[in-house]
């Protein structure tokens, strides 16, 4: 809706105006942030633990060392993660589609628990570049092609990198309206004119299949456009699948990667 309002203003030639303002903010007590991913590729699986920082502080986040990190699957296999660098806990292993993984993190007398089931993998057929004309300007957008399976409810998360820089947008989709179809998923790089894909850019796309809780997590984050109070939904913390009061998520997910160079 916000985009529509901006369109209305664009054509009314009433320029919206932006400025930096001072706001009195309350800083909350720091809380634990856990980001855990288990994927289906044999290799290093990683659980990262950090803390929130004050809003007026730098973008530097305290790393949490000395936690105990354990992932157990529904067959009872226990994987103990070890701290490789401050706040980063690793284990070389592989997740299996259909298994439910449970995370247990112990820190400062508190236990944080989460579980996630690894969904089926939807094969990423290919990626390409689509030319779109918007307001008289040609834009190049990355697209992914795949066939959504008709028998499952599927949730997708994508990460896009341009010249090895992660694109800020949160790309997430489900098949609620597109179940069973050949999908061409389009990725809008940026809403402004500054950042556009150009010839020679090296683009990577990671496509993950995630479970429904993790979809909700990313979907609510993606709804918080520009992540401040605006005309959209009131911002709130996305509902985490981790119990015990930590922010973040624990996801068992499938992983695919493709890349291209923009022509």
């Amino acid at each position: 809706m916000n985009k529509l309002i901006i369109l209305v203003f664009f054509v009314l030639s009433l320029s919206a105006c932006k400025k930096i303002i001072q706001i009195d903010l309350n800083n909350a007590k720091p809380v634990l942030v856990i980001e855990g991913n288990i994927d289906d590729i044999f290799g290093i699986q990683q659980i990262k633990i950090s803390k929130t920082n004050a809003l007026d502080g730098d973008d530097v986040f305290p790393k949490i060392s000395g936690a105990t990190v354990k992932v157990t699957d529904n067959l009872g296999n226990v994987n103990v993660f070890t701290e490789a660098s401050p706040g980063v806990y690793n284990k070389t292993m592989k997740g299996i589609v259909g298994r439910t993984y449970s995370l247990a993190v112990g820190f400062a007398g508190q236990t944080y628990i989460a579980s996630s089931t690894m969904p089926k993998k939807v094969v990423l057929d290919s990626i390409g570049i689509l030319k779109v004309n918007l307001f008289g300007k040609d834009r190049k957008n990355l697209v992914a092609y795949f066939k959504d399976p008709i028998d499952d409810v599927n949730f997708y998360r994508y990460y896009m990198y341009v010249n090895r820089n992660l694109v800020r947008n949160i790309y997430v989709s489900n098949d609620r309206l597109t179940n069973g179809n050949a999908i061409r998923q389009q990725f809008f790089y940026s809403s402004d004119d500054v950042d556009q894909l150009k010839t020679g850019d090296k683009v990577y796309l990671e496509m993950l299949n995630i479970d429904s809780n993790i979809f909700d997590y990313w979907y609510s984050l993606s709804q918080q456009v520009d992540r401040g109070p605006n005309q959209n939904a009131t911002p709130s913390n996305p509902s985490s699948n981790i119990t015990g009061g930590a922010l973040g998520y624990f996801s068992a997910q499938t992983y695919q990667l493709d890349s291209l160079t923009v022509k």
Binding site: P30, G136, Q231, Y249
Partner: protein
Amino acid sequence: MRSISVNMPLKRYFSLIFILFIAFPAFAQNTFSLSGTIRDASTGETLIGATIKIIGPSSVGTQTNAYGYYALKQVAGNYVVSISYAGYVTVTKSIILNKNIKLDQEIKSANNLSEITISASDRKNENVKSAQMGLERVDMKALNNVPVLLGEKDILKTIQLLPGVKSGGEGNTGFYVRGGAADQNLIILDEAVVYNSSHLLGFFSTFNADAIKDVSLYKGGMPAQYGGRLSSVLDVKMDDGNNKEFKFQGGIGLIASRLKAEGPIVKDRGSFMVSFRRTYIDLFLRASPDSSINGSTLNFYDINAKLNYKIDDKNTIYLSGYFGKDNIGIKDLFENNWGNTTTTIRLNHIFNARLFSNTSLIYNDYSYTVKLLSDVSNFKATSLVRDFNLKQDFQYFSNKHILRFGLNATHHRISPIAITSSQSSQVNNLMQEKRYGLESAVYVSDEWNVSDKLNFLYGMRFSAFSLLGPGNFKTYDDKNNITSSSAVESGVFYKNYFNLEPRFSVSYLFNEQNSIKASYNRNTQNIHILTNATSSSPTDQYVLSSNNIKPEIADQVALGFFKNLKENTYELSAEVYYKWLQNQIDYKNAAQLLANSNLESELLYGVGRAYGLELFFKKKFGKLNGWVGYTLSKTERKFDKINDGNYFPSRQDRTHDFSFVGIYNLSKRWTFSSSLIYSTGNAVTYPAGKYVIGGQINYYYTERNAGRMPYTMRLDLSATLEGKNKGKFQSSWNFGVYNALARKNPYSIEFINDENNPQKTVAQQTSLFGIIPSITWNFKF
């Protein structure tokens, strides 16, 4: 069963009302009635709320109803009758009341520009005397003088300048009344519900001021004949049309042009009115050399039309309609259109001088279409809400009572969304189940003039809502899983809700200039808008009460002090109110409201409370007139799963709201006006920390809506120049400046990394409007 426990007190209440009513029978002496219709002498328009008084040893008086009709009763004798109305020359007549007399009277407009814009009108001290509280009437004649964005005079933006009414945002026609939500206002046009009252995403309202005769806003103390929404009633009535001669009027503005035609069908018996308005922003778009801009669409238009015909002395028939549409589109990419349709057929019947009846048959709908034209993901989504409504209202005029009673039945059909796509599209067809509901009510109320000092307006509305089959009705657990589903056939009343809504107001006059009033009323609501955006959107979802969604309930108490000064030139009022809200709706995290068959699983239910103080000072007459309004208020909501189950401020909770409107009539030709508003910023949720997830900075939130946007302040100016009189042709120029102080008022705030110091977070405010000048040319002949 619930209905039985409700029925018993209901019966008792109705009998009480009838006993009270019958307890004051006519005197044994010969009494006769005086009745008739009051009209404008030049246009033949009926006048609503004109005062008729029979002056004698014991004076009696009344006001005309919505159709200009009045009736009085008095002991036989010789009397003087006075008929008065705001901005009109008072007429007095001698009558010999020795039989029932019918007195239809036309009165002349005083054509005095110094009348004030928004007023309870020149009803002498009616504002002090009447038991009605929380009522504001907009005088359409002077609406022209209140400055508005782009010079498009707009009743919805003008009512936002009244205490207790808060704007939905800058340049937005959405409004909040006494802490209620935007969907809790009952907006009716000639009795038909207008679901979406905004054009162009809220910058303009659907009401073309040219076609509007009367606007009344009830902020509290809603009379029993109104029901169905919690917060307010905005009752808008269209012009009937001139029944004496053909007239044209119109205007050319920066954004839109208007044209209205009216005239007699049969002189003095019937007339028509038709009014048309269209924007021409897209004509500018077409002028662009850029092919994708000149192929874009952005316009709205609306048509108001009305016919009335007086069949005989006892029967008058009215036919009125509204049709409006918005179109927005980007060439080859996207199209969106939406609009309302309303049609009302009414029959006024006078059974006898004292019993007046109106029967209305109403159709109204709201629909939208969204089309995505892109090759692989093309689709068309449509949605419709439509109502059939039958209303029967009676008014019985007695000496000291006006008794109103009637019934109302509305059949709702909601088609939430239907998605169709081409074979090649990756979007599937989807047909969401239609929902059917029947909303019905019976009411009775009595306006009782006990003595010169004491007045009551009390009544009861009994409302019933039934969710009808066919449909699959589901229940859900906490995790949105379906726990049960029942397939219900057509014609089955699947879920019924019954509510008793008492309405009670009293006024006590210390003297002609001072009074206190108190009121209590309950309202219920069975049709709800689901949106987690904060501004109105054409694709807002409507849902009916159901097995999951309970009727929203509001109880409001209000107490007010009213004072007039200098022969009613100045009006002063202070009202306090407290409101309790039940079964309010909010949303779970990650709620998907659009095209979701399990929509009702995404909802949370809670309670709310709102309270405040409203001060109003108005100067009604003179070269300089206008008003000052101030509201001190709080409005909060409470949901188990939001904000740890604690009360939090609603977004529209603004502690202080101040408005000033001043109109100065310099000469017969020049009128200057200004408005100044100040309000506390909206309650919003600011981050309380930040963290990294998914390789990105994200914000950590603690309390809901605990932060404040910066305050809003705006000064608007306008000047009207009346053209020199050239026979029948009259014209005027209106010049306006919106936001004359060029203040950058907050529209939204986002948190971004500081350009100069990327490690730091800063708040960036977006403002919509700078100074916006406007010019409009209006004409009449």
